[in-house]
Structure formats: C-alpha cells, structure tokens
Symmetry: C2
Subunit: 349 residues, 2 copies
Amino acid sequence: MAKVVILGAGVMGTALSVPLTDNGHRVHLVGTHLDGDIIAKLQAGYPHPRLGIRVAESVTPCTHEQLSEAIEGADLVVLGVNSHGINWAAQALSPVLSPEIPILAVTKGLAGDGEKLYILPDALRAGLPAEYSQNVQIAAIGGPSIAQELAARRQTCVVFTGTNLALLKQLAELLRRPYYHVWTSTDIIGVEVCVALKNVYALAVGLVIGLLEKEGKAENGADMHNLAAAVFAQGMLETAYLVEQMGGKPQSIYSLPGAGDLYVTCQGGRNSHMGRLLGLGLPYSAAKTQYMPQDTIEGASLALAIGPTIEKMVKRGDLDGAALPLLLSMIAIVCHDQSVNIPWNEFFR
Amino acid sequence: MAKVVILGAGVMGTALSVPLTDNGHRVHLVGTHLDGDIIAKLQAGYPHPRLGIRVAESVTPCTHEQLSEAIEGADLVVLGVNSHGINWAAQALSPVLSPEIPILAVTKGLAGDGEKLYILPDALRAGLPAEYSQNVQIAAIGGPSIAQELAARRQTCVVFTGTNLALLKQLAELLRRPYYHVWTSTDIIGVEVCVALKNVYALAVGLVIGLLEKEGKAENGADMHNLAAAVFAQGMLETAYLVEQMGGKPQSIYSLPGAGDLYVTCQGGRNSHMGRLLGLGLPYSAAKTQYMPQDTIEGASLALAIGPTIEKMVKRGDLDGAALPLLLSMIAIVCHDQSVNIPWNEFFR
C-alpha cells in the first residue's frame, strides 16, 4: 500500500484517485487555492461537482494549507493541476517536497520563453528549488483519458512517460487496473508535445462545428466531416513536425498520445465549445469574455503560452512556418483576435 | 475541355462529376450492371437516389452496354466501383480500353492471394489484357471524402496518388476546384494501404457504439470515448506497421490518407453501423443477413478479402501477429463469426 498525494482536485486529479484506491492505496487529495469549494463538498461527503462521483473512503480531501502535512511519508505526488497551475504548484511544492518523492503529472501544455519551447515537466522542474530540482523524478501521463470515464471505471488506455523506465514500471504497477491500461514510454518529449498540441488542434477541428452551424446542412443533407477530417489530418502532420523538431519519436504520434488523444479531444469538451464559437464568427476575446469567462480552454491557453515564441522561432528560421500553417492560424485567431480563415493552400506541404 | 468516363454510378463516382463538370469537362457516367435503376433515374432527370443531387447537363448517364461508345475519345476513365466491382470493371474495360487512357480509381481495398497482399491498382492491372496492362497508367484518390459533401461542393481535401508525378499533376488540374483541394503523392503503396485499412479500423471503432448502447451511460454520464480513441490509436499504429511492411512511406499515415480518412470514416456510415451491431453482440453473419443484406460494408469486405492471406502470412512469420492484434481480432469477428473481444493487453507493442 502506498501513500499518494494528488495535488489539484479538478476532474482529472480526482479521477486518478479511483484506480489508486481500487488498488488499495491511501490518497490525500489536496485542492489548489481555487479548489476550496470542491474540497469542502468532498469533505462533507458530496459527489465531486464536475466529476459526478463520490471519492472512496480511503481518500482524504485536504486544502492546500494542509499540503505539508499530507505530503509527509508520501510515496508519490500526482500533479493534477491544469497548465495555468504549474507555477503555483511548483511554489506550493518547493518548501515541502523531498527530492526522493517522484511526481506524476497529468498537466498538458508547453512553455515558451521567446527563444525556445519547453515541455511542462521541464517547466515544473525549473520552478523547484535549484538545490534539488535536478534530482526530482518527473513522469507524466498521456493518452485519451476523459476524466469522467476513468472515474466511472470505463476502459481507458494511457502512456506513462519519463526518462527512468524502472520508475515508470513501478508507477504503472501502482495504478494499473482491469479498466485502466497503462503502457510506458521513455519518449517524454514526443508524448508531451503530442498531448499538448492536441488541445490546439482539437480547437481547430472544433471551428468546423461553428462553420457548419453557420452554413447549415446542404440541400442533400451533407455536413462538413471532410473539412473536419482534413483539419484533423493537418493537425497530425504539424504534430509530427514539431515532435521531430523537438527531438521526440514518431511512434508517439501514431499511437495513444498523438492520434488517440487528438481523437478523444475532438469528441467534445471545452476546446470544441470554444472552437464552435470561433467558427460562428466571434473573435476569441469576445467569445472568452462573454461565454466562457471561468473556463480554462487548454487549446487557447497553449496558443497564448507558446504563440509569441513560435512566431519568433518562425521569424528567426528556427521553425519552418510552411510546416505549421494551422498552428500559426490558430495563434493568429487566439493571440491576435483574427477571424477564422483556414489556410487550405498551405496544408500538407 | 476533356472527355471523362466515370465507370460506376454509385455515390463517389457520381460525386466526382461535380468538380469535373464545374471545370467544364464532359462526363459520361456509365453505370455498372448493378446501377440500372440509378442510370434510369438520372436519364429521366431525377436526383441520384443516394447522393441527393441532380447531375449537371454536361453529364451523360449511360448503361454499361454503352461503355464502348462512351469511352471513344476519352481522356480519362474514373473508376467509381466499390471493391467488389474491381474484377467486373477490369472485364468490362478490357475489350474497350486503349492503353493511353489513364485510370483514376476511387475504389478502396486490398487483395490477397494467400501468399501476399496487393494494392487494388495492381489487382485491377492484373485483370486487364496482358498485351497492354503494363502500359496503362493507374492513379488513385485517397483522403477524407464523403461523397455527399463533395457533391454539395463542401470543402474536401484529397490526395491523388500514382507513380507518374506528371500525370498526377495533370489529373489534379482537371479536378481541382475552390472546394476540392487536391495534393499529389507518389507513395501509392502508403496511400492505398491507409485508405483500405481505414475501413476495417472504422468498423473496430464502431464496435464501441454498440458496446456503449449495451452498457448505457455511466451514472455520472460518462460515455466510452476513451475506448473508441484507444481503438482508433491502435488502428493507426497497425496501419503504420502494414504501410512499412508493404513498402509505403510514413507521411501517408499522419496526413490525409491515414489520419484524415480514418477520422472521417469513424463519423458514421456503413462501417459504423455494422460495428454497432457487432458491438451489441450479434455475430457478423447474422448482422449482415438480418440488417444489412444489400449493403457493401467495406471494412468487412476488406477483412474477408485479406483475412485468409493475413492469417497465413502471420503463421508463416511474414507478418508479426503481435503488431496486428486489432486486425486479427476483426478478421476473427468477420471471417469466423467470433464474438467481440478487444485484445487490450496486446495493444501498443
């Protein structure tokens, strides 16, 4: 039996308590500064408001003020925050983390500093105290995993990635269940780039929902699946390009982290909702403020986080803009409020 | 202005008359021996019964008895038959085709002779008269293209593939429209393998619709998108393996023919409908006879066409069965009426 701290009581963090407790582990589910209401509800025995399940008895919901106590004797920290929470998490963990406790992150995203792109495990590491940050083992989860389905114990296939294969196998043992199938991959760059980019490309596929709604079905009943599929394919191709540029491996692209995760993210959720609004013709800033002010839209967050860096890298020639027309178009839409204009003629170079 | 013969008046063959006539070409739409009713309707000025559109005035609908007359002076034959029609088409064309008329095929499939797998252009060529079969230029179309959408002039992106790049560019010029975006690729093996396999993997993704319907939504409202996405990803991975084994290129996998065409085929259609029936628990033979007796289900047709060859190649060690658990499982379901049993533990090797 292990003691596991899950930091972040959003849907994905909380869902991971299910396979952990089913395997007999004790879990401290520690909310962030934004999770106060959720933790209060869970402590009072109510279901998680967005996940729709009650946590197991072996889950102790705590507030972030209790992190130091919760982490004592922990064998693992699962990082369940979203991409906006990485810096907060690094700060919260810094005073209390021992370097021998490994971290397993579900956070998806990339960071950019104007010069270069970074995978999130590296961004997290950079936020930890210099005296031990290089010694902390950081692994991550990628693959198609809608939290509500995992929480309901529905078949879910994921990849644990990191540089230490022995650790990955150990973590997989902790979480593997008959409904939670875990593979391991040491291609942390490939996996992380795929699972981050899928959000912005799912936003792009979502545009088609709005375009269709605006235009309506054709007289013969035709929708716009061809268009959605072409955008999907271009997303895969651009993902392949960026994986290669950043030093990842092609296998990650056409398996769970790439194809699988992009597919599942196109089946609905906040990226699709925002995509629809953009496809209907709203500028991003108006759509965000008017319709989704409280929501984290990971595809848009990614465009905002890496947009300026990508644009500079293209300008400097460090990246080939001709290989990234859809990403550049999504950056223009999200970062510069440009209207939707799918750059067909630049696709599939 | 070119003269084009489209052989096969099904939805895809007929839909291709739209970009052709929009470009000012004359089209003879020649029905197969099974298309009598469709041709009669089109000749009488009615819409195509399944495509929901009237053909342009510059389209001359003909019966297959008129093929010899129609093909006189033709610049191109578009082959619009389905995979079951390839032998019929080769026989019909043999007495009337001149070797200088190129063929552009929309037919998707693979053939197997117990020893080896063949792409359909090679199977078609093998059915043409030996004295000129090697001189006929055969190109093919791949990519996400639902016929009804193309017929309604909705944005569609495809790849023309073949070994002669100059011909491909010429064909692309004939068909390209502001709504019909055509790329060219000389990776005919990669494209053809991708677009054939997508049917059987879409059938596999379709299983999940039936599994979900049987099990229902979870208490928290969860569906089964994670499962569908994992099956999708395994399909992509197996496609990559077979493309590589047959000598195709990886680019075809993560662009229009692979990712794009699999994505669009999972959005509905006959493969999905049959997948649902199988997922609900019906044996394939019963599902086919009782519910879809008149329908060509390309995923099942492919399993039947290549199943015995694949099984023999795996047995002989010419293919690695561990790389193809989902395909072998679909072959077992379709060819041997086995029940659905998704082989999780063999995925992602």
